[in-house]
Amino acid sequence: MPQLKRSKGLIAMLLLVPGLIIILGVFVLPMIYMLMISLREDMGRGAWTLVSYAHLFQDSYYLEILWRTVKLSLYTVVVCLLLGYPVAMYMAQAAPKMRGLITFLILSPHLISVVIRNFGWVVILGDDGFINNTLMSLGIISGPLRLLYNELGVVIGLTDSLIVYMVLAISTSLYAIDSSLYKAAGILGASRTKQFFSITLPLSLPGIFAGTTLVFSLAMSSFVTPALMGGTSVKVLPVLAYEQMMASLDWSLGAAIAFLLLGSTILLVTIFTRLVETKRYKEVFSS
């Protein structure tokens, strides 16, 4: 019997091998190579040096862009949360068929390339776009509103791409709430509003936290949307890293920027997790 168990374990290990090779080949190795490029001269082959990192921390320009990247990601998280929560609530209490339909609807934009979706936004949000034309023809505004090529445009674009993660994460945790809890709360005297704040919201925290972490990390590393919707004036770290490598051909600085982005994302997510996972939270939600 123990022999059988060991051979089962062996089979499981063997089944993991192809996946591990792919992760190693396309993810881990390039990362190590990038780290070398950022830490050594001559495309990762020369002498060890911290000159690229020193550059990043000495020039406030880079830190300002880091701050902007973080700020826009936070805005996106907040907007996704505020817009996504009601959708998630609706989904969680809808009949299975309806839930399937909504899932499809919020996923369907992702069937289209993000580049094309962003051009769609340009048509809607531009100076001569749908929104400005409508508002101007109604006489509500005299000149076009600036909805694009600024921070607002980036947040709109990022929300469009990322809200689906927030909605799915929250609806999953809402769906897991036993509906008899609402009956119990109601009979004890809680109005709908009180039920929301004392039952729904606290019990959906795992979904909110998962959605927040996902949306934040993905917003931090977004490249296409900030590039297309923010234009040249709203630069973020991923765009900057791309420019350093492709335009300035400073691969070492570009790689250092990439690691600055990675490091700050990990740091912020870790701090966030530490803050929200209080003793009580762990006791209630850990299985």
């Binding site: 008899s180 109601g186 809680a190 109005s191």
Partner: protein
């Protein structure tokens, strides 16, 4: 003086789509009474309870609690206590917070909340669990906490929807005893829902037997058992031997009838009148049938008002305080329950004589197929 009732249901009706789930439900519950809704799964017990609680609105009829009409009043304004089959404790709150929930909503002062929570946890005998979370408790403990949470607000009416159905047999008996004791001590008017007839008998002052959304009978446990109003009640509550028969005649005390298998019986006369040729169902409880060995000394002579038939023992089951004997008599299979006695023992295959008094046979019009 007219009696005042804590709960009054007048011609309550509820439909889901085209199916009527609760039909013409009438009931009055006195202060301090414990009334059970008993019936098979799907008969409308929970639906009725949900209308009392305010989770559902009746389509027709009036619902009065403590003299106040409740139609249209939402659950949170009804001041009731409720216990659910699945406990329904708030998983993110400690035991103390769960129990305090209703008091906080009523803006009771902090110090009073503390006193009342401690007191009610003493009452359910779990004073030491205040800081635990529900998932750290056993099923029995959870249900006790749920009961404490329902009682702490001193509700005008306590509703329990199959509160014991998720517990194992031993715990179920323990907890039902405790609920009964609490109910009597506190004197809270209680409506208890169950599909378990023994539980219903044990708990209630009165039982409402339901089938397909219709009230079949309302009565004390004894009434329900001894004087079932309908064939359904006779079959659902307790064990019964049922026979299909035709009326052949009768006198002022008895009906004479003949089973479809050709045996003749007599059954006691009740209010209902029958004509010769009417198709009826006759029921006899297993414990009212006496069992004798054929040719034994005690064999009783035929007498008026006693039905007797002979048969063969098919199966014997020892069930502790009694034995259950399955007897084949002609084409009837009859279940008999008799006190266990080490002196008179029966063997499978043995010929026996069964007899029962005519007044212990209940007769009902044949159910529509």
């Amino acid at each position: 003086m007219t009696k005042s009732y804590d709960v009054e249901l007048h011609q309550i009706r509820k439909r889901f789509g085209s199916t009527t789930v609760v039909d013409n439900f009438n009931l009055q519950v006195e202060r301090g009474e414990c009334v059970t809704f008993l019936g098979p799964s799907g008969c409308g017990k929970t639906t009725t309870l949900n209308m009392l609680a305010g989770f559902l609105e009746p389509d027709e009829g009036t619902l009065i609690i403590k003299g106040k009409p409740m139609n249209g009043v939402p659950a949170n304004k009804r001041d009731l206590g409720m216990v659910f089959q699945t406990y329904s404790l708030f998983p993110h709150m400690t035991v103390a917070e769960n129990v305090a929930y209703g008091l906080k909503l009523r803006k009771v002062s902090k110090s009073e909340i503390e006193t009342r929570v401690r007191k009610v946890l003493d009452v359910v005998k779990l004073p030491h669990l205040t800081d635990r979370y529900p998932k750290q408790l056993s099923g029995g403990q959870r249900q006790r906490i749920a009961i404490a949470r329902a009682l702490v607000t001193e509700p005008s009416l306590l509703l329990l929807d199959e509160p014991l159905s998720n517990l194992d047999a031993k715990l179920r008996e323990e907890l039902r005893e405790e609920i009964k004791r609490l109910q009597q001590e506190i004197g809270v008017t209680t409506i208890f829902v169950t599909h378990d007839q023994e539980e219903a008998m044990y708990m209630s002052d009165r039982i409402v037997v339901l089938d397909h959304g219709k009230v079949e009978q309302i009565g004390t446990p004894e009434d329900i058992y001894q004087q079932p109003a309908t064939a359904f009640v006779h079959e659902f509550v307790g064990k019964s031997n049922g026979f299909q028969a035709v009326i052949t005649g009768g006198d002022e005390h008895h009906w004479r009838l003949k089973t479809t298998e050709g045996m003749t019986f007599s059954a006691k006369r009740n209010d209902r009148l029958y004509n010769s040729g009417d198709e009826v169902s006759v029921y006899v409880r297993p414990e009212y049938i006496s069992l004798e060995k054929v040719g034994s000394m005690q064999e009783t002579a035929e007498e008026a008002g006693v039905n007797s038939i002979s048969g063969t023992v098919k199966l014997l089951s020892f069930l502790g305080s009694f034995i259950e004997v399955i007897v084949e008599a002609g084409s009837h299979i009859i279940t008999v329950r008799t006190n266990y006695s080490p002196i008179i023992s029966f063997a499978e295959g043995e010929p026996v004589k069964l007899s029962w008094n005519a007044y212990q046979a209940n007769i009902f019009p044949r159910k529509e197929a």
